[in-house]
Symmetry: C2
Subunit: 308 residues, 2 copies
């Protein structure tokens, strides 16, 4: 394979323990990196940079392999895998973190296999900004660098975060985090303030209100699909980013139309993600299922135009 | 004029006293009927059924006349005009009602001028369900009947409300009210439950997350325009309904594509509404401004499709 192809992602691989509407799932596969690369794998080869403990079972590695995800950059360290535990409110709109045990993640030093340093499409998942920067400096000639972050880093590591922001093309962030980072409630203004920090493009994820893209060509709104059955929203944002970046890495087109289609593919993958716990709904999707959902999304917003 | 043309609306005409972000406007023109018919007047002749007190100034009647709004069904009763007062939170996302003085509205008995009874497009604004039903029974052969309601009637007049719902084609309602009426948090399920109560079509307004249309042809999502300057959200929902119904009454086409375009025209008018206090931004819009904003909305969601 041409080393410039595909997509490098650094993120967390974790065990999640989740409670939602009276159902409890213990130690299921989770983490931003897992969701991201599973979604992206439907579009392009994915190279995962992450760390797991010696308790991480082969069955999960086999799953990554089955999805064509390269794990040469996945370090297996002595100790326990990162563990997150959370409980959702009945409306699934808010959640409470019950435990965040970094374990082997606390001493993670990402190291890219040499061949991966030629990659052009990079996603810096939601980890310490210094680690994001560390990964970025290992890439020789990046073409599109996107990143995620969260309130924890905005509050505690703002200077480090700003150094990463200066060097990325695109930030994917949720609405509350965008407001916090910009110190501005109005989202178009918050996005403008963030774009002045570095990333030319800002995607604001709004949960079941969809996602907004702010860039030099203006604003684009992708809806969330109004699903009757939502089981577990964990990972939906990472999955959106995976579908989005996976599509762009596949078509290798960064024009405004391709970016809009990528927003829809991100939304499509996120709509599958929330239909089951962990990333189970995305273990084995067919092209027909993805294209069918994509058409349903298009039907949700498109119409024939007629002059008034 | 052919008596079947245009649009009949019953709703409130009020004085509003509004506080938003440190600005206070006293006794400005408001009420669901005022917002609705001003928005609709850009598309079709509007016939307003409402009541005002003897304190209602001629300048407002002149404004209605300037917009081609017929006020033959606007009763002038002894006493004071309906007065509402509210204060918005700094993010404009929530508000507190400070006063609701019904005044002449308390004894309102809507009476349609005889010629208006031939009208085919009817909007029953947010008033007591018994009054909505009273207006509806005065219409001879309605073609499209839409209505709005609010938590106050859902909580206090549910049986009367259900009798109206059985007889209307379309309900326009906000998300929290839809959840309350259906007893169901999930919006697609709530919409399905409401459709079983009568209206074949349900539009759920979600503020700055746009609006969702649920009907036999599936779901349609219209975004809200991400505005950098929102001054006063009062009346945005009524204005949306006015643009929506006004467009349909103009094109006299109830097919799924026309209904989708109507959702966009409703959103266009609502986006103007929030840019100023009262209905001031809608006093004098040009066709160019409306069409320009419509194109901006289209650009917000449309893209060229390419098979993956």
């Amino acid at each position: 394979m041409d080393n410039t192809q595909g997509l490098v992602v650094v993120g967390s691989v974790a065990f999640d323990t989740i409670e939602a509407r009276g159902v409890r799932k213990e130690m299921v596969l989770g983490g931003s990196g897992s969701f991201f690369c599973t979604a992206a794998s439907y579009f392009t080869p994915v190279k995962l940079v992450a760390v797991v403990g010696d308790d991480f079972p082969k069955v999960h590695l086999d799953f990554f392999a089955s999805r064509g995800i390269s794990t040469e950059g996945l370090i297996r360290a002595p100790g326990k895998t990162f563990h997150w535990s959370g409980r959702y409110a009945d409306d699934l709109a808010s959640r409470q973190s019950l435990a965040t045990e970094l374990n082997v993640f606390a001493d993670f030093k990402p190291k890219l296999p040499d061949a991966w340093r030629e990659s052009e499409f990079i996603f810096l998942g939601n980890i310490h900004p210094s680690l994001q920067l560390d990964v970025l400096t290992q890439i020789r000639r990046p073409r599109l660098v996107a990143m995620d972050t969260m309130n924890f880093w905005i509050e505690g590591q703002l200077e480090a975060l700003k150094r990463v922001l200066e060097r990325v093309d695109l930030l994917v962030i949720n609405d509350e985090e965008a407001r916090m980072l910009a110190g501005q409630h109005n989202l178009p203004r918050a996005a403008r303030a963030i774009r002045a920090m570095g990333p030319k493009t800002v995607i604001v994820k709004r949960g079941d209100s969809g996602a907004l893209l702010f860039h030099e060509n203006g604003v684009f709104a992708a809806p969330a699909y109004p699903l009757e059955e939502v089981v577990d929203p964990t990972g939906a944002g990472d999955t959106f980013a995976g579908g989005f970046m996976g599509y762009l890495a596949r078509v290798r087109d960064l024009g405004p139309q391709a970016v809009r289609r990528a927003m829809f593919y991100g939304s499509v993958m996120a709509s599958f993600c929330v239909e089951a716990f962990s990333l189970d709904r995305m273990r084995e999707l067919s092209t027909g299922e993805i294209e069918g959902r994509y058409r349903a999304f298009r039907d949700l917003t498109h119409f024939e135009d007629v002059r008034l």
